[in-house]
């Protein structure tokens, strides 16, 4: 009966392996810089030590906004992914459900493409087009 929990063990091991592999890979691949910016614990563009009561760069808000929408849209995909396998096996509306899910992702990707083309993903914004910043909306 302990064997029933084997999948939990596998999950745990896979999770640990994922972390270790990524750390090692990162150490091998990344360039090592010994200057001041390179020695910061997090390379996020802000001073990481000191008071938290300072103004964040306004560009974080844009990125946060875009992230917020896309992250939350995934809430739709969880229930969908949960039942999809059984639906496909039952062969009644499985095909349609798969198609609709893909369609939803495609529309999300269209929103991503929109943000990308309009230059809201690049930290140093290009003002080439001079278009107003769009807020993506996928409903």
């Amino acid at each position: 009966m302990y064997f029933d929990y084997a999948n939990v063990l596998v999950f745990l091991l896979a999770g640990m392996a994922f972390v270790v592999i990524n750390l090692v890979l990162g150490a091998l691949i990344r360039p090592t810089r010994r200057d001041r910016a390179g020695l910061e614990p997090y390379e996020c563009g802000e001073d990481v030590i000191g008071s938290a009561w300072f103004r964040f760069d306004i560009r974080y808000y844009t990125v946060a906004m875009v992230y917020l929408v896309f992250a939350v849209e995934v809430a739709f995909l969880f229930p969908w992914a949960r039942v999809l396998k059984e639906a496909l096996r039952a062969e009644d509306i499985g095909g349609v459900a798969l198609l609709e899910g893909l369609l939803f992702i495609a529309i999300l990707l269209l929103g991503l493409a929109y943000v990308w083309v309009k230059g809201d993903l690049s930290w140093v914004r290009s003002f080439r087009r001079g278009t107003p910043r769009g807020h993506d909306k996928e409903v």
């Binding site: 009644d92 509306i93 095909g95 349609v96 529309i107 269209l110 493409a113 929109y114 083309v117 087009r129 001079g130 278009t131 107003p132 910043r133 769009g134 807020h135 909306k137 409903v139």
Partner: protein, 503 residues
Amino acid sequence: MADALSYLDALKYILPEVALTIGLCAVLIWDLLGGGADRPREGAWLSLGFLGLTCLLLIQRLGWQEATVFGMVRVDPLATVFKLFIATAVGLVIAFDLADRRQPAEGKGETWFLLLTAALGGFFLVGTGNLILLYLGLETLGLSSYALAGIHKRDRAGAEASLKYVVYGALASGVLLFGASLLYGMSGTLEMREMARFLVFAVDEGRSAQVLLPTLLILVGFGFKLSLFPFQWWAPDVYQGVSTPIAAFLAVASKGAALAALVRLIAVAYSGLLRLGPDTFLPETDFTRGFVLLLALMSAATMLFGNLAALRQENLKRLLAYSSIGHAGYMLMGVAVLGEAGFRAALAYSFVYYLMTLGAFGMVLYFANQSGSEDIRGLHGMGPRHPLAATATIVFLASLTGLPPTAGFFGKWYLMVAAWEGGLPWLALLTALMSVVSLFYYFRIARALFLRPEEEATPLPDAPRTPVLGGILAVLAAGTLVFLWFEPLLAAASVGVEAVLHW
């Protein structure tokens, strides 16, 4: 919707929505490919093409059997007629936007994409009997409108308008959702039709207060969208701050959709509590009497506020905002009767309102293109120089006032008869009185056009000709004059109301 075939059958019912969705994706892709900045006209034609296709599909569905598809989308005459209402209004708004010479050329792609998204939200708002889908439609319409209001980034007035709109709008829709969640808790269902039974039981058992609270909260949400009295503060600021086409969109498409949804909600979820409903087997309850009185008082306050505040406005868009508040009061009068005749009159008046309000905003746009001003002063002496547009304007003003040969008269007549027979004669009399008051401020516009010397006006040296806009104004004015020919449309509204009441 158990198997794939019935799924496809169900899909046929929402084909207009599908066409609209494909259309808005197409507009977005076209904008991404660089069309928005370089060739704005193409995008407008693309949007109008898909809207036209949507309208054709809707017309095809006018005679179809009513159905509920996917468990929550209701396809019936009321929904289809109001989807046509929204789609055509958005088409005209796009045409207005093209004719508006005072806006920056940038952001056109986004404007059309957002307008189509808003139309899609409106489609679901008018075509559902499920409270969650109703909220979803309301929010899709609302969120697109907030973004539309603030589309020009460097425009201070637009930014302020969008801020006021989003704060009040989000508050109102949040309150509406809270009310809906309470109704859900009371009845255990989100379907308006099943809810009706529970509401009657609750009132019967003397739990009127439990029904009243969510009802009030939901009215807040609709009151905001329709700019009804205690929730109308945003309207003048927002209409003045946004560009004229967007103001026309907010005044007509957004309001029409909200009215249809409100009528459906009351006619279905509260069907057991209606005074003149199909199955009024119960004696009239205190709840019903109180509900009628509440709506009637709201209607009266809205009329009074809108018409009196409009008297002293100098900015045309602000004046039209107050006047549209007044008209929302007239429409609510029909709803307040809580009966079939009232609903029918309110919906019929919304068609009248569509023609004359779009016309009036088109007029503001036309003359602002010429004079560069949106104030009444900008109209001085314009009449003789632009006879066609000025004549159309007179027709719209007459109709807004409610003078006899125009649509406004018949619309108001139906409403007053419904209110009189529905036991609210004082409200009908107040409407007549307010029409007289409105004559004063509408007449000021006509006087500025024809009776004021020209030297005060400052016509732009190279004012563009906008023949298309003039044409639209002429067509709308003609429609306002021969409104009685639209009997089939009114009949469709009646059928819609009946279908909803007997659902």
